[in-house]
Amino acid sequence: MKIPSISLWGVYSVWHRHARVYQRTWLVNFLPPITEPIVYLIAFGLGLTPLVGEVVYNGQPVTYLEFIAPGMIALGVLFQSFFEGAFGSFIRLNFQRTWHALLTAPLTFGDVFVGDWLWATTKGMITGTLTGVVAIVWGIYSPLHLLMALPFMLLGSLLFACMGLIVAGAADKVDHINIPIFGFVIPMFTLCGTYFPRETLPGTLKAIADILPLASLVDLLRFPMGLPQWWWANILWLVVLTLISAALAVRMIRPKLIH
């Protein structure tokens, strides 16, 4: 596949445009989505701790609150980067025709694509980090651990943003975006060990959950409780999926713009 021409300035300029739009509309675009993982953290944390108390993770007992904190960070990363990649880019591609306008400037398809990708990644990072900050204030995740978790969050945000872009390129109508949300994102959120250990799932379902990318991200974010034995394979898996997703997203979107 031909690698699109990309310039650092071009990518930054596209990202900057999206960031300025976000700045203008932050009350609407920032507050509601950011509350989602935080509400889950509070609701699951306060609601289920009296019932669950502790869970066994990596052979060791941990409090339920400590267990779900990284899960909710991963959830923030997943939801925000995927939704921005899917809905945000779909709207810019098909309704606002922002991509078309940008391509009349001295920008290439590569600049616009990577700028959109990194913007969706940024939104995943913002929500993941703020959920982490809430967990820190609550005393269930340490500031140092959040700092060390940033590269994992970045990897997850890059991947889920790119998966969102695939959907933005593949969907003909905005309603089509619901299909991967209910067929992939929600099942991944519920099955991948964000709020219960995957060990409790039956064999086949656990095997499926284990290979879903959110499972790798959650396991990596739980590093304060011990990394999984094959932690490097988790990283490699996320990197490989990101590269495949990027290639697919380019393939889906490019023909809609460049003939």
Binding site: S5, S7, T25, L107, H259
Partner: protein
């Protein structure tokens, strides 16, 4: 003493298209289109819907990759050096793809960023453009609050941010009311005076006739003729035509055959070319047919198109 004349550079064209072809599958959309656009010239690309105008414009700025041929913007090849080529181009697409989240002035300021114009320089340039295009009163308006004509003007202002050498206007006045169209025409004339090369695609013949220094006629992706509007009219239809209604077609065809002139149906009646020295005789012969209505008028580009393509522009 022999005087040495100054020599012009070999290629003074602002934009050159060389043998452009584009096919989608087996379907050819553009076939062998070549032309140059000079500074300070308005070049019209005319054709009915589906003639390949927008595809040609897409190839000119790199959105459509030619199946064959290439485009040069000055010395830059659009395909391999699109970024630098577009740095010198201003592109007004058919659709108004302004940023609805920004005000009018912010649309310009944030677009200027793509040209590395930032901060005070971007604000200054945006202010200049708003003044030039008489948009100052709308600087703080949201895009949705603007009329169609004003939106087109903002899209043009956005295209002019980097003081382009070439401006593409792809059906810029489609959907505008007559006042807004005339206001837009004034801007095109101003661009020409500023030395910009302007490439205009339109299917409004009056627009093409008023604005264009030179025209290229496209049909089914092929260039079928080119020249100045008066040249094309004179060469194709002559200077005058007659429109007439309420006359038998066979009688009319007989007159056309006798004087070897062009005739075809037109609306509810017919149009016939009054060409050459025999115009008075043709006119007398037509009057003798006692048509219900007969009008003599100057030939225009609509007649040219009717003759060359056999159809009216939609």
């Amino acid at each position: 003493m022999a005087q040495t004349l100054p020599t012009l550079p070999r290629d003074t064209a602002a934009l050159s298209a060389y043998d452009l072809w584009k096919s989608y599958g087996d379907r050819p959309v553009v076939q062998g289109v070549s032309f140059t656009l000079n500074p300070g010239e308005v070049l019209g690309l005319l054709g009915p819907n589906g003639a390949g105008k927008t595809t040609t414009v897409g190839m000119l700025y790199g959105l459509v990759t030619p199946s064959r041929g290439f485009v040069r913007m000055g010395t830059f090849d659009v395909k391999s050096d699109g970024r630098r080529a577009r740095d010198r181009m201003g592109i007004v697409t058919q659709e108004d793809n302004l940023d609805p989240d920004f005000t009018v002035i912010d649309n310009l300021i944030f677009f200027a960023h793509h040209y590395r114009l930032r901060g005070a320089a971007a604000r200054r340039r945006a202010g200049e453009l708003l003044a030039e295009l008489e948009l100052e009163d709308y600087a703080q308006y949201a895009v949705e609050q603007l009329s169609g004509g004003l939106k087109r003007r903002v899209v043009l202002a956005r295209a002019l941010i980097n003081q382009p050498q070439v401006v593409f206007l792809d059906e810029p006045t489609t959907g505008l009311d007559p006042d807004a169209r005339q206001e837009f025409w004034k801007l095109v004339i101003r661009l020409r005076k500023m030395g910009c090369g302007v490439l205009l695609t339109t299917h409004y013949m009056d627009e093409a006739q008023r604005l264009c220094d030179r025209l290229i006629l496209l049909q089914q992706g092929k260039m079928i003729d080119q020249g100045t509007p008066p040249e094309l009219i004179e060469r194709t239809v002559g200077t005058e035509v007659v429109e007439l209604e309420g006359v038998a077609e066979d009688q009319l065809q007989q007159v056309a055959a006798t004087y070897q002139t062009w005739c075809r149906s037109f609306g509810n009646g017919y149009v016939l070319s009054l060409s050459g020295d025999r115009a008075p005789q043709i006119w007398d012969a037509l009057v003798a047919l006692q048509p219900e209505q007969i009008t003599r008028r100057s030939a225009n580009l609509e007649d040219v198109f009717l003759r060359l393509t056999g159809r009216m522009l939609e």
